[in-house]
């Protein structure tokens, strides 16, 4: 049994990155992900194998990650909101050149500078932000242990499959200090130099780019097996809630109470938003049951889901863009929506 520690999400991210073998971080301070940079810098003071660069902006941070991975080092960045927007140019380069780019995204409320803690408004941006086809791996952790594990999984997948990988979380999970019996994994991954002579990312002919894209699309299709969603109580449910991240954590808590009252409600929680768990969700959402989306955004998860699968039952939604969602309000809403 591991020892219980009192730790923030941002500290967990740094722990996870160091444990898996990351050695270089590029970052620019932005709430709510700033402490990832700060904690990593602190780690660097004690460990000479680790390094960091506080860049002039997120653009430089993102391209720094591109350069470092080309040189064969396990590197990452962390950002949020407007910083996530600025990262998109470099993420497009990573997507096209198949660089193992890793970013932790702690969502905050927008548009623009907005608020600093809670939001799921960067869902589409993170999954599909660049000019390209959105060939990105996006993990969506729902609790601190998952934040640790998915941070490591992002590094593993990025280096194994050579697509940019993200941990899409928010300020609640990153900044809250919680008691946790952390299960650590200390098995480090290895990296190889990617740069070689005459590497190309500009194409003269449409056909050349098209052919290259077919390979990338096929490779991305091949990793659809790694998509995952948590299913909770789907067997005899009359209503299915779809939510991810900390919003899903609120839904889970609401469901404990509602089930005590005899309401048969299930939770479907995508743990990867890309590749999207289409087959798994389709199996459950194509049976005519009523479906409720709960989001801290105006329907971004719903858009992703409905683009991928055909929902046959009635659909409704509880959208609270850039708002924290409490179990109580979910409970009230679901009671009104529930039919035997």
């Amino acid at each position: 049994m591991s020892e219980v520690i009192n730790i923030t999400g941002n500290e967990l991210v740094v722990q996870a990155a160091a444990d898996i073998g990351a050695c270089l971080m590029f970052g620019y301070p932005i709430t709510p992900s700033t402490e990832i940079l700060e904690n990593w810098v602190n780690l660097c003071q004690a460990n000479k194998d680790l390094d960091y660069l506080q860049t002039e902006d997120e653009i430089a941070a993102g391209f720094g990650v591109c350069g470092a991975t080309l040189a064969g080092k396990i590197a990452f960045t962390a950002s949020a909101g407007p910083g996530n927007v600025l990262l998109q140019d470099s993420i497009s380069m990573a997507e096209s050149m198949r660089l193992p780019f890793v970013a932790i995204i702690a969502q905050r409320g927008g548009p623009s500078s907005g608020t600093v803690i809670y939001s799921q408004q960067e869902t589409i941006l993170t999954v599909h932000g660049g000019n390209g086809e959105g060939l990105r791996i996006v993990y969506a952790p729902g609790d601190p242990q998952e934040l640790y594990e998915m941070t490591q999984a992002a590094f593993v997948s990025a280096w194994k499959y050579r697509f940019p990988a993200f941990v899409l979380t928010d300020g609640y999970l990153c900044k809250t200090k919680q008691n946790l019996a952390l299960r650590r994994n200390l098995k480090k991954i290895s990296a190889v130099k990617i740069a070689k002579p005459n590497m190309r990312n500009c194409f003269s002919m449409e056909e050349e780019l098209f052919e290259k894209l077919q390979i990338d699309l096929k490779d991305f299709e091949k990793i659809s097996f790694m998509s995952q969603a948590e299913e909770d109580g789907v067997k005899d449910a009359n209503l299915v809630v779809v939510a991810y991240g900390t919003v899903a954590a609120s839904v889970k808590e609401a469901l404990i109470k509602l089930r005590e009252e005899g309401l048969k409600i299930a939770l479907l929680r995508p743990k990867t938003l890309s590749p999207f768990p289409s087959a798994q969700l389709s199996r459950i959402l194509s049976k005519g049951k009523k479906v409720i989306f709960v989001e801290s955004a105006q329907g971004q998860l719903e858009l992703l889901t409905r683009a991928k699968i055909n929902i046959t039952g009635e659909i409704n939604r509880y959208n609270r863009p850039a708002m924290g969602i409490t179990p109580e309000e979910v409970e009230d809403f679901l009671k009104k929506e529930y039919r035997e």
């Binding site: 391209f63 720094g64 040189a71 740069a195």
Partner: protein, 237 residues
């Protein structure tokens, strides 16, 4: 062909730059210096977007495209990850002094160990000759059809500006493809300075007859005249 440095990938000669372009002279100078210094294993070139990108298949050592204005950041990431590498940034004046200025100035200010080579042909060449920061007053481009006027800002002096905020140990120079021997000396010093752990910067005056719309003899005259606008030499030696 036999005179080409071994660092040049002969399979891809002839290159794909326009006739009369200055880029190949600067690119040849880089290849030649790397061969003479026997640094083919350490050298890595990041190519900005613009005409610089056409050099992607030219070298036998590591080279790759980056994004427009992002080559300094990318190569700094590379250098940080592999301090033994010899990281070279190859960029045009638009990439360096307009869209990428923030990272260029920051790297100079931090004295990052990079060698930055900027081709100054006074306009955006790949996109068909628009005004760039180095377009001189009165110069006609597709976005300054009556000639650049002072309301559009004076010409941008890259090395002179960088000198103001760079470390005293940085190497800062301006050469021209008109004098490839001197240019090679500057590039050699710029690579040596990076190896000593400091920022090194060479701006290279270079002709673009296609967008200057100049005949051969006019191209030489114009390149020669540019030396009165942009003074050649080492700024901090």
């Amino acid at each position: 062909m036999n005179n080409l440095p071994s660092t040049i990938n002969e399979k891809n000669i002839p290159h794909s730059f326009c006739p009369g372009c200055g880029h190949p002279i600067a690119l040849h100078a880089i290849a030649s210096v790397i061969e003479k210094m026997a640094l083919g294993k350490e050298a890595v070139v990041g190519l900005d977007i613009g005409c610089s990108l056409l050099a992607w298949n030219l070298y036998n050592f590591d080279s790759f495209h980056t994004h427009h204005g992002r080559t300094v950041s990318t190569m700094l990431g590379f250098k940080r990850a592999n301090p033994k590498s010899l990281a070279i940034v190859y960029q045009g004046d638009g990439g360096a002094y307009a869209i990428g200025l923030q990272s260029l100035l920051t790297s100079a200010h931090r004295d990052d160990p990079l060698t930055v080579i900027i081709i100054n042909n006074t306009l955006y060449a790949m996109t068909g000759g628009q005004m760039s920061p180095t377009t001189v007053l009165g110069e006609k481009t597709s976005t300054t059809p009556r000639g650049r006027n002072i309301r559009q800002g004076p010409k941008f002096l890259g090395p002179e500006t960088i000198k103001e905020l760079a470390s005293e140990r940085a190497y800062i120079a301006r050469g021209s493809v008109e004098n490839p021997i001197e240019l090679e000396t500057m590039i050699r010093k710029a690579l040596e300075r990076q190896r000593a752990g400091h920022f090194a910067f060479v701006e290279v005056l270079s002709p673009c007859p296609v967008n200057w719309k100049t005949a051969a003899h006019e191209t030489f005259e114009r390149l020669n005249e540019l030396k009165t606008e942009y003074r050649l030499g080492e700024l901090n030696e």
